[in-house]
């Protein structure tokens, strides 16, 4: 049962798209987001993140299961649920026939503001998002980063309790991405709950209080980034590129002191260790001329994903 602290409550959510080849985009998902937290859905493209968000924001009807936003069922009371949420979709949906100011003003009007209150709120938002100089610009004149900022300003214009951001940094340059992260943190500090989807593990690691890793429509794990990384049981990952898998070599490497665990993949072997002291020369010696390349990385959420699925996030 959802409690008062739960602003998003997803129970047994499944979404199947009919068609020549039916696709089950989301499979029996259970998920809870608490008020005031920044929750991330992390997974590769096509994992089911956007479909989950789409159901939560009333744009997609679930095949089965229920979703409640602030206690309101999104299928039974979609209009009321929409009042509680702001949404920033993956693509630019700003009104092309209106200026930046008008985009904010009319959004407020849709949410029942009087003309004077909507104008006041639009001015407030322009200031808050450092857009005052752009108020009279039309949407087509905005860069990707600016358009994204306007979309966020518009999404929170009606003061929703929760903000959904679908792949917010996709297509942004590094500078705009950092500016976006600042805006997200600022909104969080104002008490708004944020749910974002991303396939950038640094974004999830950097921003989120809790992360659910999703793949093939299923949630694999859900915890704080720190706990997820600890669950790997090692501090570092050594990637040996051999050009093929070699189970026999893996067994030998497993017996080296300091190696916590390892796994093979189609290109070679991945070794999990806590520290590298004296280990690299031993590994190179054991591997011999088969070794084509070697790389060492810190344990990240990507490592967690690889551990869980055997695949890279980008594959």
């Amino acid at each position: 049962m959802p409690t008062r602290e739960d602003i998003v409550s997803i129970r047994g959510l499944t979404k199947r798209y009919a068609g020549k080849v039916p696709v089950e985009a989301v499979r029996n998902i259970d998920l809870t987001v608490k008020r005031g937290e920044l929750f991330g859905l992390l997974g590769p493209n096509g994992a089911g993140k956007s479909t989950t968000i789409s159901v939560c924001t009333t744009r997609t009807l679930p095949t089965s299961g229920t979703v409640q936003i602030a206690g309101l069922d999104v299928v039974a009371t979609p209009a009321q649920a929409r009042k509680q949420m702001g949404v920033v979709p993956q693509y630019n949906t700003l009104d092309r026939q209106c200026t930046v100011w008008e985009n904010l003003y009319f959004h407020c009007r849709y949410f029942g503001y009087t003309s004077a209150a909507a104008a006041k709120r639009a001015n407030e938002l322009l200031e808050m998002f450092r857009l005052t100089e752009r108020g009279k610009s039309f949407v087509r004149e905005l860069s990707g980063g600016l358009a994204q900022r306007v979309q966020i300003a518009r999404a929170i214009a009606h003061q929703p309790e929760i903000l959904f951001l679908d792949e917010p940094s996709a297509g942004l340059d590094p500078q705009s991405r950092l500016a976006l992260w600042d805006s997200i943190r600022q909104l969080l500090s104002q008490g708004i709950t944020i749910v974002l989807t991303t396939h950038y593990m640094e974004e999830a690691d950097e921003l989120c209080n809790r992360v659910a890793i999703i793949d093939h429509g299923k949630i694999l794990v859900c915890d704080t980034p720190q706990n997820l990384k600890s669950s790997v049981g090692a501090q570092k990952v050594i990637n040996l590129h051999l050009g093929s898998s070699d189970p026999q070599l893996q067994q030998t490497l497993n017996q080296l002191p300091g190696v916590k665990s390892s796994e093979t993949n189609k290109d070679g072997i991945r070794i999990f260790v806590d520290n590298l002291d004296g280990l690299l020369p031993r590994i190179i010696e054991v591997t011999g001329p088969k070794l084509k390349d070697i790389s060492v990385t810190e344990t990240t959420l990507e490592t967690v994903f690889i551990k869980l699925t055997g695949r890279d996030l980008r594959e």
């Binding site: 798209y17 789409s54 924001t57 009333t58 744009r59 997609t60 009807l61 979609p78 209009a79 009321q80 929409r82 009042k83 949404v87 979709p89 693509y91 630019n92 949906t93 700003l94 009104d95 092309r96 026939q97 209106c98 008008e102 985009n103 009319f106 959004h107 009007r109 849709y110 949410f111 029942g112 518009r154």
Partner: protein
């Protein structure tokens, strides 16, 4: 705030947005509304009589009188295409900017119905703009006689709503890349076979066409306005135009709203 108040305010917000955009583009709206009937009336009812090539039907009714209701009907009909179908096709299929309005706190079907109502509003304005032009330009006298204002107002309103419903249906079906094709395949035949330039009764000499055009909503808009404005020209019975226009609003409105829901929700 009660649900109905929430919906009403959101609906009004959508109207305010559309009216505001229309006001900004009023010159473009006027040009697209006025140019076609202006040119048509000027050439066929001003130039032709001046050149001694006047058309008159057997009862001595001038061509200006004959086409006035039809051209008002076209002005009404075109708004559904230009004011709703065209922008909607892009907003749904290309820019997806309709999403912010779909995310407003009201049932999504009301977002579609708002489009029909707004289109009807544009149609009424278009009818009011076009009427005096068609009345005053012709070189031969145009006989307009309003027997019943309720019939005229009822016909204009129903024709305007039907045109909005046609626009919504087309806008949700036609993809942006096929818009140009839509003009050739849909709009041109509807206009030429819409009893605009001739009354429906005159088609009796080509019986199959007279029956086939009954599928065309513009026929009932033109004939309805013939009853209301130029009752001495041959026209359909009033009940036929009213029932047909009501059916158009109901069926096409339903189809358009269903199409809209299918496109914006998955």
């Amino acid at each position: 705030m009660s649900d109905s108040m929430l919906y009403a305010r959101a609906f009004w917000g959508l109207m305010v947005r559309d009216i505001s955009v229309l006001r900004r583009e009023f010159v473009a709206f006027m040009i697209r509304t006025v140019m076609n009937p202006l040119m048509f009336v000027f050439v066929f009812t001003y130039l032709f009589p001046k050149m001694g090539q006047d058309f008159q039907n057997a009862r001595g009714i001038s061509f200006g009188t004959l086409i006035l209701p039809g051209l008002v009907a076209v002005a009404i009909f075109v708004q559904g295409i230009m004011g709703v179908a065209l922008p909607l096709s892009f907003e749904i299929g290309s820019t997806r900017e309709i999403e912010d309005r779909v995310m407003s706190p009201l049932p999504v079907s009301l977002v579609a119905i708002e489009k029909i109502i707004f289109s009807a509003l544009q149609s009424v304005v278009a009818a009011l703009v076009v009427f005096p032009m068609i009345y005053f330009i012709p070189a031969t006298p145009v006989h307009v006689h309003v027997n019943s204002w309720p019939v005229l107002i009822g016909n204009v309103l129903l024709a305007s709503l039907a045109s909005g419903a046609v626009g919504l249906t087309i806008g949700t079906i036609v993809k942006p890349q096929h818009i140009a094709l839509m003009f050739g395949v849909v709009v041109v035949p509807i206009t030429f076979f819409g009893c605009v330039y001739y009354p429906w009764a005159a088609l009796h000499s080509v019986r199959w066409l007279q029956i086939a055009v009954l599928l065309n909503p513009l026929v009932y808009m033109s004939e309805g306005l013939r009853i209301a404005l130029t009752p001495e020209t041959p026209h359909m019975p009033i009940w036929a135009t009213l029932v047909a226009l009501l059916l158009c609003v109901g069926l096409l409105g339903y189809t358009g709203v269903r199409g809209f829901l299918n496109r914006v929700l998955s």
